[in-house]
């Protein structure tokens, strides 16, 4: 942690960055995101196993953007998110300092190549319970899946916490806020919820970096992350493309290969 504090201090003092997005102590045993603009507060930063939230979500928030050039304390999934954001023209590696901590050594990832190398070396590993959920659903019949999701989604009341927590949901006007035409029913009944969630999955297909922020954010405990994870799984299986690996990759869903195969188009 020492190294992290030192690095943060240097960055702020040198004026290279104006804000450091990192983790700090929260209430109880929890950690919370902190935004440090003063060198003397650098020691508020913490780094341990509890630091898992995907802080990249703050990078595109206007109130954070206002603060100036940011440095971000990055977990592997944050690095992936940043790469994905770069590939979608939402960030430039030259306008951000990415700090990764390995064995109390802090490294700066300052260009696309170093971000990509880091991402390639740190694959996302799901916690066992997620692996189990994925497996359970995969083994269900289509009717069981229908019931499963109808039950789960019936709790959704369209608070859009999932949207707010997702670092890749950065549209300035969401599809749901568009009423000409009304693509997604406003009401949080079964149809409206279904429309919202399948759109979210389709929009994140081949983009979701599987950080799980949406599931954590859901106040009624719907495992909605599974939907976007599935969408990305389909993309990887069918087109061999994974998000968060290449800064100049075309999005899997807006590109194609002549050799793409399917069996259902007659």
């Amino acid at each position: 942690m020492q190294a992290l504090h030192q690095k943060a201090k240097e960055l702020l003092e040198s004026g290279k960055v104006q804000v450091i997005i990192g983790y700090g102590d929260g209430s109880g045993d929890r950690v919370r995101p902190v935004f440090i603009s003063k060198a003397e507060s650098a020691s508020d930063l913490i780094w341990d196993d509890r630091c898992r939230q995907n802080l990249a979500v703050y990078l595109n928030k206007p109130e954070i953007k206002k603060l100036g050039v940011p440095a971000i304390v990055a977990t592997p999934v944050v690095v992936k998110t940043i790469i994905q954001l770069i590939s979608e023209n939402q960030l430039k590696s030259s306008n951000i300092v990415v700090l990764v901590v390995d064995n109390d050594v802090v490294s700066e990832l300052t260009d696309n190549a170093s971000l990509e190398a880091y991402s390639a070396g740190h694959p996302v590993v799901f916690p066992p319970f997620v692996v189990k959920e994925i497996k359970d659903i995969a083994e269900m019949s289509i009717q069981q899946r229908n019931k499963y999701w109808q039950d789960e989604l019936s709790r959704c009341f369209k608070c859009y916490a999932c949207r707010a927590a997702c670092p890749l949901c950065y549209c300035e006007r969401c599809l749901t806020d568009n009423n000409q035409p009304q693509w997604v029913c406003v009401a949080s009944h079964a149809q409206g919820n279904f429309e919202w969630h399948i759109n979210r999955a389709m929009h994140l297909a081949g983009r979701c970096v599987e950080c799980g922020s949406c599931t954590i954010a859901c106040p009624v405990g719907i495992p909605i992350g599974l939907l976007t994870i599935e969408a990305s799984r389909i993309v990887k299986q069918e087109f061999g493309q994974e998000p968060g690996l290449h800064c100049d990759a075309d999005s899997a869903m807006s590109s194609f290969k002549v050799e793409d195969t399917e069996t259902f188009i007659k």
Binding site: E88, N89, Q90, Y170, C171, E172, R173, C174, L175, N178, Q180, P181, W183, H203, D250, S251, M253, S254, S255
Partner: protein, 665 residues
């Protein structure tokens, strides 16, 4: 409030025989927003059209639905009628009651119900139609022709002779291309250089043509009528204005042993050279990668001998930018080298040559002055084997197509060989003879019947050298695939014609499509054979697929006529069915967040990145912007846009949504 007019056509009895047209008109009349609904026997007839025109005026219609035949048939007719009544033509839609309803269903309520559905769906759509106006773009009347082979020469001359300006860019030091390397041409056996070189000179002298040799296209931006080409003029190291083309420099150059590209490695050239005596321009260039001065800083023999003092060692590459209205791509082809063929010795046998090398051996201007001699020892081959389909039609080697020219030039080779070596034996191994063309089959028959060339149907398995002879192992498939072994003095491989080096990167610079073999793709194989999918860029010759000279020249003239046609207008008019990115009030400016997924989705590279800035020039955001000159209106971008910030005029989100909702209401 919409005031839609609905016009149900009986199409004689074509529609009314199975659809109750009167009922359709009546039902529609009571639909909200419909101000007028009638049926009539022939809507497309003059009285029918005037029915529409007068209703527009009298009922002050804001939109029209004509329910008749397929819009692919009469949409232009009815839109024109609306325009005549001063209703924007894009406020007129057609419901297809004939092809999609009356002709495919039996008479009955279900059919009439369907007709009602189809019409009401279009009524809901047309309520949301917006007036659209044809897009006009200006035209720069200069054509860029890329590649100075026979295709480029023909295209450039045709365009120039029609009074338009042409910029012709050639990568090599001279124009002429492969045709200048050929000996005689089938099926007439006229001398290739004799017919080509006058055309080359014409190019140089035509005031409408600007010729850049030793130059390449760096990039092309813009769109039809309004391209900008960046051209790199590679340093020739010679001041062309001063050079008189006397050739003293080439004589002076101490380096003499560089394999000549023009002579396919069978002859030599110096480091400063003119590729061949009839070159246009007939001025030398220094091959810097081979020049002693450029390698070691010493020599300058050429400069010391140049009477005009035209050598410029310090010359730099020059980039020029030219506004261009249209492009003709004529970059031609190449052939596979013998080294590509493992079973034929990986190119290690000197007397196994390609067809193009054999052309040089036959050519009077070639390294042997037209005498057929073995490259290894200079003896005259008495037994020679020609192998057709070497690499062509060979999926295992990655080339599944037919190279098209080999059957004919192989027959020509065998024939010319027999004419020159009377006591020689010529064998041709072939799979099929493809001699479709005027006088072609007769030509190849002559090789067999008059010149006694031995044609054997079968492919060669292997060639190897033994005692200075080439052992050729084949089979005669017309004799039960019996093995044939020939001890030949020389073997000529009709190797596959492939896309020219750099075709892929050029295609990417021009944004034109190309196939798996890097041949450029035509817009439609039959009906648009010289157009590309990028408006304003045309193709001719072997860069599109292997072809012979007559076909190449026809295509070049065709492409030229397309350019001339384009240049005959002061400006271009295009249908306004294009995508548009929304613009809103500040601070948002547009709901587009600039993820540019649409950019990779667009087949036409029509989406650009636009910077929205404050008045002080500070960047606020990047948004997508559609170039109306390039957009063809497929709408693929629209379906990708997550925030629905891009929409397609004529098929907008609101319009198609309304259609679905109405249909199932």
């Amino acid at each position: 409030m919409s005031r839609i007019g609905v016009f149900i056509c009986h199409c004689g009895e074509n529609i009314s025989a199975t659809v109750d047209c009167e009922k359709v008109a009546k039902t529609l009349a009571s639909m909200p927003g419909v101000a007028h609904s009638v049926d009539y026997k022939y809507m497309c007839s003059d009285p029918g059209q005037s029915l529409i025109r007068s209703a527009i005026k009298e009922k002050k219609l804001t939109g029209v639905v004509v329910a008749a035949c397929s819009p692919r048939m009469h949409e232009p007719t009815f839109r024109k009628a609306c325009a005549e009544a001063r209703l924007n033509p894009f406020l007129c839609e057609m419901a297809n009651l004939r092809e999609h309803c009356s002709w495919v269903h039996a008479k009955g309520d279900a059919t009439t119900d369907k007709a009602i559905d189809l019409v009401s769906m279009l009524v809901e759509k047309v309520k949301r139609n917006k007036p659209l106006f044809p897009i006009k773009v200006p035209v720069t009347k200069t054509a860029l022709v890329i590649g100075g082979g026979i295709a480029g020469i023909q295209a450039a001359l045709d365009i120039a002779n029609a009074g338009q300006k042409v910029v012709l860019v050639e990568r090599e030091p001279s124009i002429g291309g492969h045709m200048s390397q050929l000996s005689e041409t089938f099926p007439t056996l006229d001398c290739s250089q004799c017919i080509l070189t006058p055309r080359m000179v014409e190019v140089a002298q035509n005031p409408n043509i600007t010729l850049y040799t030793y130059a390449e296209v760096e990039s092309l931006s813009g769109f039809i009528g309004n391209f900008t080409a960046r051209i790199r003029k590679k340093a020739k190291s010679v001041d062309e204005k001063l050079c008189t083309g006397c050739g003293e420099c080439a004589t002076a150059c101490p380096i003499k042993k560089i394999p000549s590209e023009f002579n396919t490695g069978l002859g030599m050239r110096g480091a400063i050279y003119v590729p061949f005596p009839q070159a246009v321009p007939n001025k030398p260039v220094i091959d810097r990668s081979r020049c002693t001065y450029f390698k070691s800083g010493k020599c300058k023999f050429c400069a010391s001998k140049c009477p005009a003092q035209a050598i410029r060692f310090d010359q730099q590459d020059e980039i020029i930018e030219i506004p261009i209205g249209s492009v003709v791509v004529t970059t031609g082809f190449n052939i596979k080298e013998t080294s590509f063929f493992p079973e034929y010795g990986y190119g290690k046998y000197k007397d196994v040559v390609t067809g193009l090398q054999f052309e040089r051996l036959l050519s009077a201007s070639g390294p042997t002055l037209g005498e057929v001699k073995r490259p290894s020892d200079g003896t005259v081959p008495k037994k020679i084997v020609f192998v057709a389909c070497t690499g062509s039609r060979d999926p295992a080697k990655g080339i599944e197509y037919c190279s098209k020219i080999c059957c004919m030039y192989t027959a020509k080779h065998a024939m010319l060989y027999k004419h020159k070596v009377h006591d020689g034996d010529a064998y041709v191994f072939y799979m099929d003879i493809r001699a479709a063309g005027k006088g072609y089959d007769e030509f190849f028959r002559r090789a067999i019947e008059e010149d006694h060339v031995n044609y054997i149907r079968g492919r060669i398995s292997r060639i190897y050298e033994r005692n200075g002879k080439l052992i050729v192992r084949g089979a005669d498939t017309l004799l039960g695939a019996q093995q044939v072994e020939i001890e030949a003095d020389m073997v000529v491989l009709a190797t596959a014609a492939v896309a020219n080096d750099g075709a892929e990167s050029l295609a990417q610079k021009l944004h034109v499509s190309y196939d798996a073999h890097h041949f450029f793709a035509e817009a439609h194989p039959k009906l648009r054979p010289v157009e590309t999918n990028t408006a304003g860029i045309f193709l001719a010759g072997a860069c599109q697929s292997p072809k012979d000279i007559p076909e190449t020249v026809s295509q070049a003239s065709a492409a030229a006529s397309k350019v001339i046609g384009l240049f005959s207008n002061a400006e271009l008019t295009r249908e306004p069915i294009i995508a548009v990115v929304n613009r809103t009030a500040p601070p948002l400016f547009s709901t587009c967040v600039g993820c540019f997924m649409c950019q990779s989705a667009c087949p036409y590279h029509a989406i650009e990145q636009e910077e929205i800035k404050t008045r002080e020039g500070k960047l606020i955001k990047m948004v997508a912007k559609v170039n109306p000159g390039l957009c063809q209106g497929c709408g693929t971008c629209v379906a990708f846009c997550r925030s629905k910030s891009i929409d397609l005029q004529g098929y907008s989100n609101e319009q198609v949504y309304a259609e679905v909702m109405e249909l199932l209401s």
